[in-house]
Symmetry: C2
Subunit: 477 residues, 2 copies
Amino acid sequence: MKKLADINNDFAQWYQDILTEAELVDQSPVKGCFVLRPYAYSIWENIQKILDKKIKQTGTQNAYFPLLIPESFLKKEAKHVQGFSPELAVVTHAGGNKLEEPLVIRPTSETMIYYMFSRWIKSWRDLPLKINQWANVVRWEMRTRPFLRTTEFLWQEGHTAHVSQQEAIEFAQSILNLYKDFVENYLAIPVIAGKKSDSERFAGADITMTIEGLMQDGKALQLCTSHVLAHSFSNAFEIQFQDKDNNLSSPYCTSWGATTRLIGALIMSHGDQNGLIMPPKIAPIQVVIVPIYKTEEDKNIVLLKASEIAKKLENKNISVLLDSDDQETPGAKFFKWEIKGVPVRLEIGPKDIQNNQVVLVNRLEQDKAKKKTFVSIDNLEKEVENLLENIQQELFKQAKNRLEKNINKAEKLVDFVKNLEDKNGAYKVGWCGSSECEAKLKEHKASIRCLLDTKENKACFFCSKSSTTDIIVAKAY
Amino acid sequence: MKKLADINNDFAQWYQDILTEAELVDQSPVKGCFVLRPYAYSIWENIQKILDKKIKQTGTQNAYFPLLIPESFLKKEAKHVQGFSPELAVVTHAGGNKLEEPLVIRPTSETMIYYMFSRWIKSWRDLPLKINQWANVVRWEMRTRPFLRTTEFLWQEGHTAHVSQQEAIEFAQSILNLYKDFVENYLAIPVIAGKKSDSERFAGADITMTIEGLMQDGKALQLCTSHVLAHSFSNAFEIQFQDKDNNLSSPYCTSWGATTRLIGALIMSHGDQNGLIMPPKIAPIQVVIVPIYKTEEDKNIVLLKASEIAKKLENKNISVLLDSDDQETPGAKFFKWEIKGVPVRLEIGPKDIQNNQVVLVNRLEQDKAKKKTFVSIDNLEKEVENLLENIQQELFKQAKNRLEKNINKAEKLVDFVKNLEDKNGAYKVGWCGSSECEAKLKEHKASIRCLLDTKENKACFFCSKSSTTDIIVAKAY
């Protein structure tokens, strides 16, 4: 294993190093497609498990729709095809023959799913219809980076249809709240929530709501989005229902998604010079037990006790790995599990057993004196539960402090542009609402991350007009 | 809703009717690709949950590999490309440009995964390497039928590498046992296990082991397979490791899979004239509660009690749906949930509440007198648990009886060919091992489903040579 690049001086290289050293991803032979190795995939499984339960609690049901979509379907919604056509992977041949109509690999499934909705929705009794799909999608991206922007990625995409626009907007908002709750309380990443500007909206949406995180290098990362599609797709696919007054109506639709990008957010939000730090609530391994011994006799005693402890903790639903590998030294194991960000390390040796104690090591604590604590085996479960809970809270608190410190108040672009270019960070400014002023940000590789509900700034960050809304400006991944 | 076709006279149409009426699948705009509607997908989720746990218990880890594979990769293993090239869907254009090398959508992932294995396996310490993937695959099939043979389907594919051939064979066998246990004890489908003949082997395998079920129309269905690949892919992808004696060696590989076809097997194994019958251990809904009332006053009393009961049962980990839909009559609900195969229906009305009882209705029981039982609310949980357990056992027993009755002893093809053609069924015969004799079966649309360990028959079913092994002959899906 090699040392990670300096997190403060070369964040991009540090990120690349982590991906390899923590065995998260590997390059595949296809450009921009990465293999999710078992450790990364188990993080995704945990994300899925929690998010899936929350999604089902909204009355949404899972289903599965085809990977391949007729090319003509994409063209039915004008903005949608404009947004996605540069990114499509196209199947032209199959079963040894040229296809009559090319098929595209889904970049997202609005067209397929709303086509199916048109077969299923006949009456107001069929509404709301709430469907979710866990699937892979393909977008042919020019520049890729594991988790953040990849040619193929995994996600969930929710699609719903409602009787009224009001209901659709409320539902899309409730899903954004669901995402915010999940990202803050499980991934321990504080977010800024708001609407996207017209130019940053999803292709085909009336409203795009977003939650944005701020990574340790001060760049923003769009984490999850929830769209009010209103009538765009229900018109394109002729979804109609008989309303309570026996009139034909079009339903109002929403779509929303969360992707494997969340794993990238975890890395960039919580990692440190020693590697990942996994929030306990999402960690594939919450406690790693490293047995320490020299003689064969001690080995037997220590391993026996260590397995006992592992079982005790597992009975409390704590995810434990007892690393009894004979080929590695304890030091090498410490190093390995630190890189993988296991929140708690439990060390146990013959002397500890004599003293009826173990050592707990807190992955997050930087202060050497506080990092290690001796804990009696008798109340070990409680101590471990408390430590996991503390790490979860502390991780969020640290990230929250960083976020707040990094949201800079500013007025005019000229005043903050140097800071923005040199140090990144987020800037809370006013905006007149014009796309001309918005476009100025592109010249500095920044963008409007979201519109806020507040109106603290009087004037637009660029022109002399008065501000209609506060916005968050930042460079973004 | 329409009546299902006669299960005895038109099994194929009955199957099609069930797919629609039980809201399992719907036709998509892409030929051979079907939408898994929520009810079917929830069956798949239950299959995944149980199978995934069992697979992880073998020390196998989940990962995720790219959907798209360079066309040249398929060509590296001669038999593999021969087997799969007629079925490939090919991406020739992406991101608006023609690709330098076409990419195929994975029909299975041996080539991609063993290429990655060659990057990860360096020493005997890296072995065994056991990886599983839950994914979608595409095979361009000429004739498709939902669940049984579809252009895109969902599956898990396991891939392992071992130090010795012996270990690989034993592991592949243990996975076949795992599948057999799952299919018999959860899906309640009894199976015949054995090896495939050379002509029926997976393209690139040394040994293919299979479990075969026999559907209600007497046709066989291959349910799950486990392959010993030995050196085919490790040679093609140059996987090499340093063994304990510091020599370079090639690992022995296995691959194995279970697909959404299992849902088709459930339907065709257990359905009856009234619809599906879901084995309780895999049923998305184990108990449906149908409240029965006439007045508004009764409605409140009945719904309150029904929710209490639902909570009680849910606390015992029983999956319950309280169908409180006001738009439908109880009779329409009975019909709907019977078609969907919910194993237990619980009816409750004002009189039942006065008598502190409910009615339990057994979906499987055909005898009208035995179908319904009155049960005291006081020991309801226990009664429901027992009934679910009984249905699970009885369903397997019935299917097992049918299987045994349908395995006919026979000697010469001429003697059983008429029965085979008219009534399907399985025939246990001897075989000399020659592909010429095997080919005779194709003339009658039958095939060798598997080779057995026994040698009860003296002579080959076709030629005059002596038999080397017993085989099962049947027509198959």
